[in-house]
Amino acid sequence: MNKRFKFDFWTIVTLTILGIFLLFLVYPLTTLFIDAFKEPLTSKFTLANFQKFFSKKYYYQALINSIVSATSVTLLSIIIGLPIAYLMTAYKIKGKRLLEVLIIISMLSPPFIGAYSWVLLCGRSGVITKFFKHNFNLNIPTIYGYVGILLVLTLKLYPFIYLYVSGALKKIDSSLIEAAESLGSKPSRKLAFVIIPLILPTLLAGALLVFMNAIADFGTPVLIGEGYNVMPTLIYSEFISEVGGQANFAAAMATVMVFLTSIMFLIQRYIINKKSYVMSSLRPIQIGELKGISNYLAHIFIYLVVILSIIPQLTVIYTSFLNTRGAMFLHEFSLKSYRTVFSRLGKSITNTYVYGFIAIIIIILIGMLTAYISTRRRSTLTTVIDTVTMFPYIIPGSVLGITLLLAFNKGYIILSGTATIMIMAFVIRRLPYTLRSSAAILYQISPSIEEASISLGCSPVKTFFKVTSKMMLPGVLSGAILSWITVINELSASVILYTSNTRTMSVTIYTEVVRASYGTAAALSTILTVTTIISLLIFFKLTGSKNISI
């Protein structure tokens, strides 16, 4: 617009948003990275923290474990997600709609519920373990450690592969496949030589997303990993034991972790940008019908996976209505767990909804305004904001928790132990969903609509609130619901930031499980799961589709 600097509404918005990100993200992160290079007592520059990490097996083993488990989870997710996506897109599968909804539910439900349910089922005193022990005197393989992490995370993360790949498959025009057939490809070769190369970039992008989620996850390894340390759990335990604000070693580990995730993130960007062939299908792949044995096998495979991945939800709902004695579930129904929850842990429920609500309001506001300034008011400052809003993709939740705590437990602004710090953690972590959906809808709104309003005598700021924001709302809300669902299920940052006054449901579920108070944990998980499912249904209603883009 005008060359001279104008201090208008949008400048104020830009500076405010930039200020928020600088205060709650850039400043804490910088503090963390600087701390990583300091000696705990003298505050002198040192590499000792990193030397310590890379010289003791106990420490660097966690890094190896993280990489190994995340890689295995990624491969397994592809092995499961890819065929399901192909079968569901190309062939008639009974109950397809329901299956899709269940897959999405299993993806968006609280991550740690999976771990904890599988412990209830197959743990040391789990139902299934005991069943085999009593009836057949059989010891089923242990669920703890690497195997458990693999099982739980794969069942939670393969939906990413499924969603990405089926999205890409739907965009393949059937003429491409027919062309391959007319050139004499056999069906199996058609899959290998035509379809796979076409969806490869999407598959890789999905795979990296799975990897990032797997390596950053805290809830699963902490509940089911037992001796199998990974980076987030190690950082957490080191941080908790290094009390007194001298968290230099934890900071160094967090730095290593962020270094790793940044590299993965850059690779992912590179692949997405290189995704050269933009496909848009005029004639999607024809849905075929499988015959005979292959039809049965396809159904068995898909149903088995989907049922396995939804078992945790069913388990917590079922057990939440059982009577308990200590850590034991009794064979009778009772609302005792719910009564306990409401009398003793009610605060965590209200906290979850209140914080979640405040966070989502802030997320919507920041999301809409940020999307607007970075699409319509481009400047150097908005480029900075664009870059900074990418950070939440790279920073694992536990690292974000530590950075916020380190930055705000001393100095001018003390926020440790407050609701504010919890809410800001939610906002920073879950803003990207809303931001992306806001930007996406803005790209669909022609700037001339705004100009029409301005030419009719409405000032630009008024136009934003009168016209643009109203037109953006449906898109913004679809992203906001995803933000909401992931806010109320947030664990890895909150578990570091909470106090007994500010704890949320997911934190409480975690602490209850650790205390082996399984009944209350199940009741809280049920409340959380039901909230998630209702929110999802609203999302489907709002977007009018059964698809979700993460």
Partner: protein, 372 residues
């Protein structure tokens, strides 16, 4: 209410590139003025400077005597019609039209009356409670027009308002716009790259190229006496043929070849003997004759009222890359149809053809008007 627009030496730069180097125009109160030029020549840029959506990097724009450079768009009281209609999708037809009146705090009764009147004028009254997604493109554009006019703006600005419509609707909407503009008498600046549309709709046209105004005039002036070969070929079509000036006993001739020259009475007095020129002849300015330009017919296309022939010159002295020329033959004039490879003579209509200097930048005919 309506104003004259005076544009004085305006400049527009995007970063390093200057899109409009120095442009001046005077648009009279109440006239239908069209900015015409190939895409990318800066028409939209100029229109948006008038509207206030683009800054003015040099010079000034006035509404009557008032410099508007620093007045923000929303205070300029302009009516604007966009290529993609830009109807508010969440408001009904009536609410769209009311929008500007509400902002101006026009009393309800008057507002209702004006909305009704304008909706009837654009023949959209029956649709007043519909949402825009239920309207066709042409209907949406009528609503956009009503919405822009109802606020009684100083000027009405339109940026290619018809280019998203199909050919038939375009011609229909063209006269709707023209009629309503005349009825209301509002100063209108209209942008298009379609020369036919510009000729049909405008009081005056400014032909632009690379941010520079080439010629300003009535459709007739511009068509008949284009100021350079860019205008001659951009508006309508023209055959360009290389020739030489010959001055003999004070008489000025245009020499095509050793066998054929024409005597011109309206050449400017600056032409010199032996000067190279480009003769621009429109297809309808050629007639079959016994002498003249010797041509070979390539093909004829029958259009009903006339036949369009493509031909090449035997001496091959056509200017430019495209060596194919055209002429039209009125059906009523003849019962002789030409065939491929026929060799004939064509004679130009001396009072209508144009003669340009060697590089085509200056029209050498006496009565050319650069800026009407």
């Amino acid at each position: 209410m309506s104003v004259a627009i005076i544009i004085e030496n305006v400049v527009k730069r995007y970063e390093k590139t200057t899109v409009i180097p120095n442009l001046s125009l005077q648009i009279k109160n109440g006239e239908f003025f069209t900015l015409l030029g190939p895409s990318g020549c800066g028409k939209t840029t100029l229109l948006r400077m008038i509207a206030g959506f683009n800054s003015i990097d040099g010079g000034c724009i006035k509404f009557d005597d008032k410099v508007i450079n620093e007045i923000p768009a929303y205070k300029r009281n302009i009516g604007m019609v966009f290529q993609n209609y830009a109807i508010f999708p969440h408001l009904t037809v009536k609410e769209n039209v009311e929008y500007g009146l509400k902002l101006r705090k026009v009393p309800k009764s008057e507002s209702d009356r004006r909305v009704e009147e304008i909706l009837k004028t654009v023949k959209m009254y029956d649709y007043k409670d519909r949402l825009p997604d239920k309207l066709s493109g042409g209907q949406q554009q009528r609503v956009a027009l009503a919405r822009a006019i109802v606020i009684r703006p100083n000027v009405l600005l339109m940026d290619e308002p018809l280019s998203n419509l199909d050919a038939k609707l375009r011609i229909e909407m063209r006269s709707v716009i023209r009629d309503i503009q005349k009825q209301i008498g509002i100063t209108t600046v209209y942008v298009t790259h379609d020369q036919e549309e510009a000729l049909a709709i405008s009081d005056r046209i400014a032909v632009m190229k690379d941010g520079v105004v080439q010629q300003v005039g009535t459709p007739c002036q511009i068509y008949k006496r284009p100021t350079n070969i860019f205008v001659a070929t951009f508006i309508g079509s023209s055959n360009l043929i290389k020739a030489k000036i010959n001055i003999e006993n004070g008489e000025r001739y245009v020499v095509f070849n050793k066998d054929y020259r024409i005597k011109m009475n309206n050449l400017s007095s600056n032409v010199k003997d032996g000067q190279d020129v480009i003769v621009s002849i429109r297809p309808e300015e050629l007639k079959i004759a016994n002498k003249g330009l010797k041509v070979k017919i390539l093909k004829g296309t029958f259009f009903g009222k006339f036949i369009n022939y493509e031909f090449t010159l035997i001496d091959d002295n056509v200017f430019g890359e495209n060596k194919v020329c055209e002429f039209v033959q009125d059906i009523s004039d003849t019962n002789k149809f030409l065939r491929e490879n026929d060799i004939i003579y064509l004679e130009p209509d001396l009072s209508r053809i144009n003669v340009f200097n060697e590089d085509g930048s200056i029209n050498l005919i006496e009565d050319v008007i650069l800026y009407e």
